[in-house]
Structure formats: C-alpha cells, structure tokens
C-alpha cells in the first residue's frame, strides 16, 4: 500500500478526534483501517490512550466543597457589609449636600448679618461662605479615601498572608 495512504490515515485519525472529519473521509478511513493492520493498531493505541486519560480517578477531597462554600459565604458577607457602609456614606453625603443647597440663602443672610454687626470685610465673609460649603464635602471625601485605604490595607495583608501560606 502506498505510504501516502498511511500518512493520510494517521492525519485523519488525529483530525477525527480533534476537529472532526467529513463523512466521506470517515468512510475512507474505516475502509483503510479494515485493510491495514498497522494503522488499525495505531487507531487502537490512540483510543486506549484516550481511555487512560478519561480513566484517571479524580476524587474531590472530603469537605473541600463545604470549606469552599463557607469561605465564599464569609467573603460575600464581608463584601455586603462593606457595600452597605459605602452606601450609607453616600446617603449621608447626598443629604448633607441637599441641606447645604436648601440652607444656602439662610446661611448667607446669617453671614451678612454677622458681617454688618461686627464690621467684617466682605471678602472674609465670602471666604467663610465658601468654606461653609466646601468643608463638609472635603470631610466626606477624606472619609471615603480613608475607608478605601483601610480596605486596601486589609486586602494587601490578606494577599501577603495567602502568598506565605504553605501549599
């Protein structure tokens, strides 16, 4: 038999497993394998190899699933708490901003009265008014940054701990 035919059979054997072959190629391969002992042996060896691969016994360690479920639940709880405290901060910030906007005319009147009564220059009054508006926002921003810093610190510590953990 022609050497090219054997090569074709080997190629089709591999292709049939990896990407599939056309029905006509399948028919040709079947016919070739029936008449060629070497290629039939090769096909059998390939099937045995795949059976060996599929036959590797893999047993999931006892309680791995339970341990993983517990760890995931704890992490979910941790993330939920962090998300709730973040949400609370945003609500407080929004309420503070809204109150600031609503009370601005009254506050300005108060500043004007204070300035008129004590003779404070207008520039100082305006600066005081600007600070009245910006200080709460700056405090809120500082709180958010602090919270993120703390969270990243924890994450960093955890990652260091994980990398040191014995495998």
């Amino acid at each position: 038999m022609n050497e090219d035919l054997h090569q074709r059979a080997q190629r089709l054997l591999a292709e049939s497993l990896v990407e599939g072959i056309a029905a006509s190629d399948q028919a040709w391969l079947g016919q070739h394998l029936r008449g060629c002992a070497d290629c039939a042996r090769e096909a059998a060896a390939t099937q045995e190899a795949l059976q060996a691969l599929r036959g590797v016994p893999v047993t999931v360690p006892r309680d791995l699933v339970a341990r993983t479920q517990l760890r995931v639940r704890l992490r979910a709880q941790e993330a939920g708490e962090s998300s709730r405290s973040g949400m609370l901060l945003w609500v407080i910030t929004a309420a503070s901003w809204l109150l600031g906007v609503l009370s601005a005319p009254l506050v300005w009147r108060g500043f004007a009265w204070f300035g008129g009564h004590f003779g404070v220059p207008r520039l100082a009054l305006e600066m005081g008014f600007v600070l009245w508006w910006t200080v709460p926002a700056l405090v809120a921003a500082a709180a958010v940054l602090y919270q993120r810093g703390v969270a990243q610190g924890f994450a960093g510590q955890r990652s260091q701990r994980d990398s040191k953990a014995p495998h």
């Binding site: 390939t46 016994p57 760890r71």
Partner: protein, 187 residues
Amino acid sequence: MTDDKQTIALGLRRRDPDVLDQLIEQYQQRLYRYLLFLTGNPALAEDFFQETWVRILERGEQYNAKSKFESWLFAIARNLVIDASRRKKFASLEDFADPETQQPFEPPDLHATSALQLLLSRENQQAVQISLLRIPAYYREVLVLRFHEELGLEEIAAVLAAPISTVKSRLYRGLAALKSVLTEGAA
C-alpha cells in the same frame, strides 16, 4: 440551557450565596479535575479551587451568560494559576516546562513520590496514569478540556484566550505526547 445561563448570571450579579453554593456543588468534580491536571498537585488544586470560587463571587457581574458557564469558570481558574505561576517567576504555562531539559515542570513535593502519584497508584492502571504526569501542563490542559470536559475548540480557545489554531496544534501535539508516554510506560 439559555435559561440556566441567565439564572446563573442573575445569581452571580446578586452575589446570591445559595446560587454559589449550588454551583460549587455542581462543578466540584470538573473544576477540581481541571485544576489537578493543570497543576499536577492536589494541594495546589485545592487552594486554586477555593480561590476560583472567591474570584467568581467577586467578579460575578462580569459573566454575561453568552458563553457556557464552565468555559468562564475554567478561564478564571486558569488565570489564577497563571497569576500564581508569575509570582513564582514562571512567565506562563509554557514555562512550566524546564527550559534546560524540556521536561514538564514538577512542583518540589513531586520530586519524590507525590500525593497525586500516591493517589493514582491505588488504582489498577497506576503505571499508565502516573505517566500522564509526564505530559507538559499545557498539553494536559487542552487534553482534559477536549476529552474530559468535551468542550468545543472555540470554547477551549476562549478558556485559553488563544487562537483556535493554537488550540488545534496543542491538541495534536498533546495526543502525540499522550500516546508516546503511554507507549513508554507500557514498555
């Protein structure tokens, strides 16, 4: 099937612990087997198993239900293994192979008789199965995805984030390597 994917995506977006419990239960065997084939080390496979599910919880909203859940799961597990291997100065799965000898990478505790080898040796086909560990990790990986998990070429390509041509070539070489180590093992 689409409904399943949508349900999973919804549960992951909500970080629903019950959905995650169910998924961990459902995919335990497949994920553990993939990680065991990939790392060749039961202790590492256990660690990565847990890490994978924590990552799934944290990045659950990224699952868009367009692809199979298992493809996404394996991709996340694989990325974790690669990240860990980079931290240990291996650039990629390709570098699991020793560049000097081109022998597959073996973690230090596999130099003697590894736990996986012990596990396998309890079975009748011990010689055949131990010889599977001699196949490089990047071939073992595609072989298990194709012939155990029965993923399609496109799905494997998505897990590996590699072109289909790479997947095919690894499968062909992996099959040849598999036959070769089994022939040697039998000899």
